[in-house]
Amino acid sequence: MKNRKSFLFLGLILAVALVFGVTTGATAGTIRIGVASPFTGDLASYGDNVKAGVNLKLKEINDAGGINGQKVEIVWGDDLCAPKEAGTVGSKFAADKTIVAVIGHLCSSATLAAMPIYVRAGLPTLSPTSTNPTIGDVGKGWFFRNCYTDDFQGKYLASNVVPKLLGKKKVAIFYENNDYAIGLKNSFVAGAKEGGITVTGAEAYVAKTTDFTPQLTKLLVNKPETIFLCGYHPEGALIAGQSRKLGFKGPLFGADGIDNIDYIKIGGKAANNTYCTVPFLAASAGPAGKKFAARFKKAFGRDVDWMSANAYDCMGILAQVIAKTGPDRKKIRDGLAAINSPAKGYKGITGLTYFDKKGNCSKPAFVKMVKNGKFVPAVKAK
């Protein structure tokens, strides 16, 4: 009799959970994490990468029984890499009290737009990819990232990649008019003086442009030896093609925004001889990273990229913190902030991650290049 009663009770709970599950999308007893990236639009392939990395780790966690017995559930938010949409996604995440942490946003300008909302709501945010240096100030202690910042990346390009790897001295900068690219351009220019690099000209473009020939023509007048593709891959690929059409033969280079298989697909032959810095490179990674790269290829049928690797580690960091603190927004923030020294750092496939007071981390950069239509570890230009 007692057995039957409890059975009925269980049934009732299940029914209620089902009803609520349908209305709010939440199932009782799961830990919900929001992931914000562009899943449609021009940069959808970036979002796919983040999704792939997060899903791989998610499966791992849930297959092992979840975090302290609670399964993890992801809520996807499509921000189209647009500040306006990022605000909408941010408000949705902030208002949904069952979401305890956010992975994202992908684009720096999207993160910058959503961050004040997360700060007000007290929602910890961990970005795998936003590299703009100023986000740490806007984040007011609620923002963390496991990638380097453009301060570092731009200077590294100017002091290392261009003079040493490419062996070039005269650079033309072609940058997109957004937070990411302007920050990157400024740090490159700052580093250029130290690296003995001359900037022969800097021109800007607006996202979604298809005709870059007027600006390129102007840039090529001063005979640069290499062009800095300071932006994302869809435009970068077109610039590569059009610069070749205008007779430019030197190497091209860019930062992490260029690292995407679509760069080669759209750029075609013109994409060859392009260098870019990335936070993760399977060929240069440790054994755990190599194992991950092999698993990734098996699961998704393509080579792993840095965004997937960083997203995978973001999920890992959050799982580790939540296991200690429990699913509570404030406690998770404190848990993330406590990862503040190499000794307390998280050992992931992208190396050791630990945060400073602004949530930034210091990590090395790796260099990739396009050779014969494929991304390979960079070799010194002849």
Partner: protein, 316 residues
């Protein structure tokens, strides 16, 4: 002696002829394409006084049709080019029959809003069929000589592809002019543009003439889409929006309703854009082209080739 006192100003490379010429070539390339789209706007406006905002989407469809024919059916570039133009012509006719014909007698605003609706519908349809990501144009399908430099002097590069675009643009513009000026259909189009009722009374099948206009506009827009897709090597479902707005600006600049005006307007806009980006600020490139349009409209309200309509005094 003051023999050597006047020396031609040393044209620095920055302001040199080579740079100017190259920018002019860049501007003419994109300007010719704007012109081909603008002509579509202006012809349709001419016959039914409708600003067909879905015209940019026909241009986008042109590019996608061509790529689909090349990749799926393995057709050679030129065949795909003309087949895609034909498909765009059919799309234009369907657009008219499905969306605009039922509204022929309703207020103009209804048709205008329908046009915007069709634009959004076609964009999203393309996203469902081809996906929202940018696609490359199949490189191998393009004739090999396209990539080769046809003319090069003093740093000016003119590829065969440039010449192909110029050639197609000029041939199509001349062809269109001949159709409008010399053929019976062209005469019918002009008659419908002047007065639909009178044209109908004279025995012209007005609806058929309008369909014919949509077909012509669609074919030209489609051709422009293919050339842009192939030249810039990228196509995406929202590509018609910006091109459509620019071409609309070009049509207004030339005087909406005037075919030669739209041609000239497109070229002027393209060149203004290239020179503006090259010599002024690249950030305000689009702003510069629109500024040119606004200035022309302020100075010549009817546009470059527009008809000046006399103000009729209202009798009190």
């Amino acid at each position: 002696m003051r023999r050597n006192s006047w020396v031609p100003a040393p044209f620095h490379t920055y302001f040199g002829w080579a740079l100017f010429l190259q920018q002019l070539i860049n501007g003419l390339t994109i300007g010719g394409i704007y012109a081909m789209i603008a002509v579509g706007y202006t012809m349709i406006y001419g016959v039914i006084q409708l600003i067909n905002f879905a015209h940019g989407e026909i241009y986008m469809l042109g590019a996608f049709f061509a790529v689909t024919f090349i990749t799926l059916l393995g057709l050679p570039f030129y065949v795909a080019f003309f087949l895609s133009m034909a498909c765009c012509a059919v799309c234009g006719v369907f657009l008219d029959i499905l969306a605009y014909r039922p509204l022929r007698k309703s207020p103009r605003l209804a048709a205008l809003i329908t046009a915007i609706g069709m634009s959004i519908f076609l964009q999203n349809l393309a996203m469902i069929i081809w996906g929202s990501r940018a696609k490359p144009f199949p490189h191998d399908a393009l004739p090999e000589y396209f990539e080769k430099t046809a003319v090069t002097f003093g740093g000016v590069h003119l590829s065969w592809f440039h010449l192909f675009i110029f050639g197609i643009t000029i041939i199509m513009m001349i062809g269109l002019n001949l159709i409008i000026k010399k053929t019976k259909w062209g005469k019918a189009m002009r008659a419908v543009a002047q007065n639909q009722t009178m044209a109908a009374l004279a025995g012209i099948n007005v609806n058929r003439v309008i369909s014919y206009t949509f077909a012509l506009a669609g074919a030209l827009g489609g051709a422009a889409g293919i050339m842009v897709g192939a030249y810039y090597n990228s196509l995406y479902p929202t590509m018609g929006y910006v091109a459509g707005v620019k071409a609309f600006a070009a049509a207004v600049l030339g005087g909406i309703g005037s075919v030669p005006g739209a041609m000239l307007g497109g070229v002027v806009l393209g060149v203004a854009e290239a020179l503006g980006a090259g010599y002024l600020s690249s950030l305000y490139r689009d702003g510069i082209s629109y500024a040119v349009m606004i200035i022309v409209i302020i100075l010549i309200p009817a546009g470059l080739f527009g008809k000046v309509l006399k103000e009729t005094k209202k009798s009190m």
